[in-house]
Symmetry: D2
Subunit: 350 residues, 4 copies
């Protein structure tokens, strides 16, 4: 079988590096292009990347010449890990040039013709793509996005509750890792021995994105779900792993055991069709009272499983719990890659 | 003026050390006794304490011989910083021996004849003391307690809201400092680069204590306030300072400006009568969007002021905000000392 | 091929857990016994271990019942990760019972009939074993040890210098990781935002052990190398990885390029015979001026390679450099395992 | 007594903020001007400074308008906390305009007519100033510098050893705090859970500066001391406080007790004439085996005392020890201020 050729946009950044690692030995895809900012163009990837992964740079990727973030690239689709500002034009140009864009960037997430996909939850939202291609005259190009890192870790345990019991209200307080700000996003003394009670632009994403993801696509129009979300997002001095304290109000009034069962039984298309990056369980529920912990649970399912703990009744809403996910794997590089695998399996990538 | 003589129970621990520092150069009180666990008895304080404060041990205290935690001690009252288990018997014995106990320990906080006091909020709860003295035959002894460190940082901004607008519901998620666990409470690898989603016994305290503090004392009977509290308590890798994300539902529906004004205008008896340890403002409200921060705000009011920030409407309840307080000063040593000053000013200590 | 059966002594500790991970999918060995302290005996390993590895417990090991640390165990040899005090009797009893002991413990390292082995450096020291077995009447049992974690990271780059140029003097200052103290070895507030300028018992080990390792075995008598070592050992707030600043005085006066080449060309028996746990390179020399770093270099060679950087002339001795090694892999679990592989390859284990 | 008016150059930076705090309630000096980079000019200090000190901004300083870093300023002298690049021209311009410059910057430290002063050690080097003023036609202006933060913490314990026993060789390995890089000097992920084995430009300073400081001024010519220094400088994840491991070779061969006594008895002019910022003891020697520690010892002498510990014989040179000093106080803001006090006491400032 010929492997599909992948170009990575933003290949030198934190998420781009995780994409490079996730794609080595991938059964369906292989990296043929790496693109980054202008000052790196023309150099070998290994020469210019400030490599921070514990595994070494895969040699064939290290030898690739860095290209500009502009079409055409020698590849069948691109994985994009760009800033929102860059994504606006660059992703559009690739799609317009007929190149599918599987994006981790935030710019197009809430666009009315762009699906915002977590494959376990709303794989069917890909049905918008023909409409998008037609409306934008993209030819075989398109743009598919994955949610914000905090949104993903939140939606995975919420989705089975919503399906079975109906979400009405969601309170969240996040404790987010340093790496979520990018390698140069925080000065050391900003976060050393400190908590930052604000993350620029984060709370609106966490409030809005779940309503689209858990919503429905009727023809070419979305019906966003209508539940209330209140979010307080904080940065804490932890390297990787976003921990979120969640309280939920549910339409039906399930027992604690029913809630736990819903999360534990949750599977999606990636599990059914065994996508290469899919974890066996999207959500694990721990019965221990001091879990999840970044130190102990971050690598569950290869970084693709959310670990939930402390599930218990809430004095105000119905139930509360703590959920942890790997912000750079399930929340970024792995999210985009799982979307690409879904697109391939569904025939959108060829 | 003769200074009142103070004995410190648990003088070698983290809170005890903060008490020692807070009492140097105190206008009303002076330390005459330090008591600690058996293996230190008989040694000079300076010889046995594992001193961790940035200022040196005050010399007169350093020379004191450590006594057993048992009456009688040569003092007019004791400040107690004992574990709950020890406090049960030790504090009772001191009170029964006629020695007033101003306690930071948790054992007697919810006892029906023991006041749980934050002087800015419920100084009038001291009126239970004659009943306590009579019922327990304490003579001139008594027990007064201060709340849990997280409860205090929560109640200071809640009290003015409750008075003006009526609290109905309170959601909190705390991010608590390492020092709150005591110097030996956590192994390094338990909290280094980690978040712990559970603190033993903490959530029930944060749920129950505010209802007593904000409640009313009618004669010798309490009427606890009836509002719902849902708490999720976490430990984060920060040395000092508990940060709490709070959402409140209020009976009246004030504007944002009214909420802010209520907090800013909040003063209590300690401010009115200028108790030595009272800060000028119990609560400061910052208008910047990335405050409070432990690094920047922990020492406000000498560690006795709560700093509130990010006050804004809540999508589910009415308003939400973030509050920070110094867990070892306002939340422990300073809390007990302020109670002692209140007791002195009110004539309960002589 | 039948795999040799391994028992792990101290299987629940930090080093024991690394041994369990290192042995999953091992081509020659398989774990058949796990032994730990009395209070765990009889329980399944998965029930009692406070598992802290990022990978899950290998299932077959998780199901093993924990045994006492006493012979006989159902195994062909034991890997021992015990405290020095325990090791004294326990390791001796196993050897006396005819069971080979491959030990990471410090008790027998400097014993005159016990080899202290880094397989790349002094594999030939195993020739003492027949003498040991005879003198102690051990039958087919024996004790082989590996050095202290800091010693190993120091000796790997020193060995090729010593062979080619003759070591005369070695200055070292170490910056050692928290995990080297064991999971319960440090209170959080002892090391958070702190440097500890002393590690109990460490400096004498770093001074003495290299002289035995780089020394010669003549018949059944050691001739320790005679060079001077001055060591200052510090604990810094880093999770894993011991960084050591080294200055060396050499008998011959090589050029900088010759020193670098000596390290880069260094290979030992494990590389020649391709022991399963042997890295391709025992030592890597970086030419960048800000390497090695724990964050970037700790996993080189699967945690079995030392990374050296900043090699340059010294104003007092001849050359200085910085070396980094993984204290729990190359410095402990991997060290013992590589010794076991060497023993097997050399025919001492059957 | 009229207070001298001080201008702070670089007032918004980390060192500048420490200068502001150190000068509140100063008996001789008062801040009348604050100067900083262009984008802040014209704003009130309190509006533009990213204040990071635990104490609040002194109100009169907070109200000052920020000026350009260019003469003339309304002050009797300036304290300069500028980058080396800026210092080159700016400091020269102030001196040329007749305004004394007391500088913490590195640019002029090794200049042949600029004294590099630690008042306890080489107050007599100020005798170069008339030569400087004449050679450069500075009028009453001049430039006086203090050493690099690491140099100061090193020289304070070395000076008494040099005087009594004659320094021949000095080995140092430093473990330097994050704050030494300035507030924006390090990305969080560069130093979180990491050690950096290189600090740009640091080692040459630590090698060269002590030879000038401990050297002699004959007329208008320096004779630098001739001893060998070998330095390895590292950054560790500690907020404040540079810890240095030192080994010394001495011409005379004192006993351990003589070495300890030399450090303990060390006093200088600042102690003799009681300069306001002078600590009672420039160096304290701890006999405990796990001191100094940043957590416990950083505030000794108000941050102006070096704490030495682990003094013991060295296997290669004569003695070794560990020394700790506060890099922003004794190593920067306090160093410059103590120089200003010395200049005032010696009649150079009026």
């Amino acid at each position: 079988m010929r492997k599909l050729r992948v170009g990575i946009l933003g290949a030198t950044g934190a998420v781009g590096q995780h994409m490079v690692i996730a794609l080595q030995r991938h059964p369906w895809f292989e990296i043929t292009e790496v693109a980054a900012s202008d000052r790196s163009v023309g150099f070998a990837y290994a020469e210019r990347v400030a490599w921070r992964m514990s595994e070494p740079i895969p040699e064939p990727v290290g030898r690739l010449r860095i290209k500009e973030c502009a079409p055409p690239l020698e590849c069948d689709f691109v994985l994009a890990a760009l800033s929102a500002e860059l994504a606006k034009n660059v992703e559009y140009e690739f799609a317009a040039a007929g190149c599918p864009v599987v994006s981790n960037s935030s710019y197009y997430r809430m666009h009315e013709r762009v699906p915002l996909v977590i494959p376990e939850i709303n794989a069917d939202h890909l049905r918008i793509l023909p409409h998008q291609q037609k409306a934008e005259s993209f030819g075989r190009g398109f743009i598919v996005t994955n949610p914000n890192c905090t949104t993903i870790g939140l939606c995975l345990p919420l989705a089975p509750l919503h399906r079975r019991f109906g979400l009405e209200k969601v309170f969240i307080t996040s404790m987010q890792a340093i790496s979520g700000a990018g390698y140069t996003g925080l000065h050391a003394l900003d976060i050393f021995d400190n908590v930052l009670p604000h993350i620029d632009g984060e709370e609106p994403k966490v409030v809005d994105e779940p309503k689209k993801i858990l919503g429905k696509l009727h023809g070419d129009a979305w019906v966003h779900e209508e539940f209330a979300v209140s979010a307080q997002c904080n940065r804490v001095p932890v390297e990787d792993g976003h921990t979120i304290c969640v309280s939920v109000g549910l339409r039906n009034k399930p027992s604690l055991e029913e809630v736990k069962a819903a999360m534990r039984e949750f599977r999606g298309l990636p599990q059914e069709v065994s996508l290469p990056t899919a974890p066996a369980y999207p959500v694990i529920v721990s019965d221990e009272n001091n879990r999840p912990q970044p130190r102990l649970d971050l690598r569950a399912g290869g970084g693709m499983t959310c670990v939930v703990g402390r599930l218990r009744p809430c004095e105000i809403l119905d139930y509360k719990f703590v959920t942890l996910s790997h912000n750079l794997i399930r929340g970024a590089a792995g999210a985009a890659l799982l979307n690409a695998e879904l697109l391939y399996q569904q025939g959108y990538l060829r």
